[in-house]
């Protein structure tokens, strides 16, 4: 049939040999591949025998663009990678350039960065929760999650004028001072969030269908996580207490008191619980940061023209989806010589096949949801 010619040659050859197998092309236009991910499924009835990810439908050559922009000019571009957690992307990039420049960021700027990044983590997790539930067939949580996410976006909008691709930080600190009601709005949001999380738990955690759909689905144990380089909530759900905010604190995270939620089995339900708990911990961090928000300057000693000395820097942060790393090489000119991003979505997506084998078609969408990918980041 015409469809099989779309499959890569090796998949095609195998299907031609065995007539019991069905090759199903899922995506790039599919309601639950979270964008333009294309997964070629090899099925026996409803059982998945193997998967093959085809990526690159959203490739924009972001890393190459960096070579033709100055360091400041490139900063807004990173927001377009993981557009759901744009603030985290900006933080990682700014920290990498600051490391090249060897600039100290003032404490007030650091605290504001922490607040905004944690707010963004909650926003990102809310979007994950809504779409994940939608994939599993619960159509209501997505609207509730967007309702709360809206509050975060309002804070971003008040702070820097943008809601999604915020470009909130500048190299060396912040562009803008916080607005008058910033602290109050952040604290109000934390109160609201803790209250609404109960609502989500009522809707999903206690729901027998939800539990049956997620328990034991897409198990990825600690050893596999390490083999695949998987990070973030996925590795924590497998029982490894690995969070860069604790392991190699940056941005003053060592000053805040918070826990790393972990779970044991590493299935979809555990990842769900870990992310839900992470939202609580983020609220804790925001409260502490707002309470101890220091006064002072918001930008370090950075000139109008950013021209780092020749050298290289790698900085990685704990983005909502896992380890987000920026490797920047400077040749001493205005533009970076090379920027390489280590995107958590892309690396985590590598474990899809491992998680999907032997499960059912319905589990594939649940697993894509639980990995929490953003195609802008996968394809860059």
């Amino acid at each position: 049939m015409a469809e099989t010619t779309l499959a890569p040659p090796e998949v095609q050859a195998e299907t031609l040999l065995d007539s019991n197998e069905l090759v199903l092309n899922m995506g790039p236009q599919h309601p639950s591949t979270h964008g333009v991910l294309r997964v070629i499924l090899k099925l026996d009835g409803e059982t998945v025998l193997g998967t093959d990810c085809v990526i690159g439908y959203l490739h924009r050559g972001v890393e190459k663009i960096a070579e033709n922009r100055t360091f400041q000019q490139f900063a807004p571009y990173v927001d377009r990678m993981d557009y759901v957690a744009a603030v985290s992307n900006g933080l990682g990039y700014c920290m990498a350039v600051e490391k090249l420049l060897d600039v100290e960021v003032p404490p007030r700027a650091q605290a504001v960065r922490v607040i905004l990044t944690e707010l963004n983590r909650i926003a990102s997790h809310l979007l994950w929760l809504g779409t994940h539930a939608l994939d599993i067939g619960a159509i209501t949580p997505v609207f509730l999650c967007f309702r709360e996410r809206e509050e975060v976006l309002k804070i971003f909008e008040n702070y820097c004028g943008a809601r999604l691709t915020t470009h909130a930080f500048r190299i060396g600190g912040l562009q803008y001072e916080t607005y008058d009601t910033f602290e109050k709005e952040c604290l109000d949001f934390c109160d609201l969030m803790e209250q609404k999380l109960k609502e989500y738990h009522d809707l999903l955690t206690g729901n027998r269908i939800w539990v049956r759909r997620t328990k034991g689905v897409g198990i990825l144990n600690a050893a596999d996580c390490k083999d695949y380089g998987v990070t973030g909530p996925l590795i924590r759900a497998a029982g490894v207490e690995w969070d860069l905010r604790k392991a190699q604190p940056y941005c003053g995270y060592e000053n805040y008191d918070f826990d790393i939620p972990t779970a044991k089995t590493g299935d979809t339900f555990d990842r769900y619980m870990v992310r839900m708990e992470e939202m609580v911990q983020s609220c804790r961090i925001i409260r502490q940061a707002v309470d101890a928000l220091p006064e002072g300057p918001i930008k370090g000693k950075v000139g109008k023209v950013i021209k780092p000395p020749p050298g290289e820097a790698y900085v990685s942060i704990e983005a909502p989806k896992g380890e987000l790393g920026y490797y920047i090489v400077s040749d001493g000119s205005l533009n970076p010589y090379r920027v390489r991003v280590r995107p958590p979505s892309f690396v985590n997506l590598g474990a899809l096949d491992k998680m999907c084998r032997g499960s059912l078609v319905a589990d594939v969408v649940a697993i894509i949801g639980t990995i929490d990918i953003v195609l802008g980041e996968v394809d860059r």
């Binding site: 409803e46 067939g137 729901n207 269908i209 049956r212 759909r213 969408v365």
Partner: protein, 393 residues
């Protein structure tokens, strides 16, 4: 006129024509109700643009679907592709023939009415299977395979629950079942010392699965199979499938209302003291309240046209409320009212499930069907049989 109505063939024919003409409109408004109720559960407004509060949305949708291009995939089996939605709609609407809408409104009261409904809903599944298969698309094929497996599995507990109710009523005629409930003075659901609740609950669960509604909407699971068996359908053919789905919901709900909730009888039909409050005051007050709600809209709407629509609705509902206060009109409509009221509660429940539950997985669906529902329904049948044998002598 009198002579014409006395002819035994004429009133059923008129009613048939009315059902065929009016049901698509009713289905459209059930869709609107579904969208509005879901919107309310999901902190949004739902359709608000076409007409005041979106009340004309179904008409706009119907017009759009009729004007759409008629796409038949080039690889499809054209005759079967054409036949499938027709078959689905035909069987779903045929089942209306035996629905006892009230004591005087029904097309036919056949002595195997319940069997007829079950047969029609089984043949309706064939439409889904053929539709998915003929489109020659993998998603459609998987959707239709799921539909086939689901229908077969859930017809068994549905059948057992129905058999229990039939055993309790002692007849297969729809009007007969209602008459038996009137005679015994208790709804089917609470008969046999409440033991009939077992088949009632099973019937509702299996009925949800039989109509492919959430959480059993696997044949059209949009997050997995895009749109399942009707992935390749569009325009009016798709609308026919949609119509069939909502017709099936109405039929299964009607069957449930008839078997277990007293059909067109008012609650407590044997308590004469409740005659006035339940049969006159309640419907009149209900429609008066709806009219009051609509009258608020007259002042809130900005556009003159929208105000007129709201005013017309207010008048219409006031008229209905007044009609229920008139004894002659009341007698004519009260059966229809109670049937419709119970039906609306059932349909609301279907919508509520959809807004609340995640979707089952294929193997779990089979698991629930074969390992739980079927044994429990058999147990319920035997238990009710034994109780009936000893209690009724």
């Amino acid at each position: 006129m009198e002579q014409l109505l006395a002819n035994p063939y004429v009133p059923p024919l008129i009613l048939t024509a009315v059902i065929i003409l009016v049901f698509p409109l009713i289905a459209g408004y059930i869709v609107l109700a579904e969208r509005k109720v879901l919107a309310d559960l999901q902190v949004r407004l739902g359709p608000m643009r076409v007409g005041p509060y979106g009340v004309l949305q179904p008409l706009a949708d119907a017009l759009k679907l009729m004007l759409k291009e008629d796409v038949i995939p080039s690889q499809s089996d054209k005759w079967i592709f054409w036949l499938a939605p027709v078959l689905s709609t035909f069987t779903a609407l045929s089942a209306f023939a035996v629905l006892p809408l009230s004591d005087r409104f029904f097309v036919a009261d056949v002595n195997i009415g319940i069997l007829f409904i079950l047969a029609m809903s089984s043949i309706g599944a064939l439409g889904l299977i053929l539709g998915g298969w003929s489109a020659n698309s993998k998603y459609s094929l998987m959707g239709s395979l799921r539909a086939a497996a689901q229908m077969v599995s859930y017809e068994v507990p549905l059948g057992f629950a129905t058999v229990t109710a039939i055993m309790c009523a002692g007849t297969l005629s729809m009007q007969g079942v209602i008459a038996s409930q009137l005679e015994r003075g208790v709804w089917g659901a609470f008969d046999n010392y409440g033991l009939m609740l077992i088949p009632t609950v099973l019937f509702i669960i299996a009925g949800t699965a039989e109509t492919n509604r959430a959480p059993f909407d696997l044949p059209e699971a949009e997050s997995e199979l895009v749109a399942g068996f009707h992935t390749e359908y569009s325009g009016f053919r798709w609308a026919l499938f949609f119509l069939a789905e909502y017709a099936a919901i109405v039929v299964i709900s009607s069957l449930c209302v008839t078997l277990f909730f007293g059909g067109w009888l008012r609650p407590f039909p044997n308590v004469a003291a409740l005659e006035m409050p339940l049969n006159t005051a309640f419907p009149a007050a209900l429609f008066a309240l709806i009219a009051l709600g609509c009258s608020k809209g007259v002042f809130r709407q900005a556009l003159v046209g929208f105000r007129l629509v709201m005013a017309a609705l207010t008048g219409l509902f006031l008229l209905v409320a007044a009609a229920f206060a008139l004894p002659a009109a009341n007698e004519l409509m009260i059966g229809l009212f109670w049937f419709g009221f119970k039906l609306a509660v059932m349909v609301y429940m279907f919508i509520w499930y959809r807004g609340t539950f995640p979707r089952f997985r294929y193997d779990q669906l089979m698991d629930v069907g074969w390992k739980w529902l079927i044994p429990i329904s058999m147990f319920g049948l035997i238990l009710n049989g034994v109780v009936q044998l000893f209690a009724r002598g």
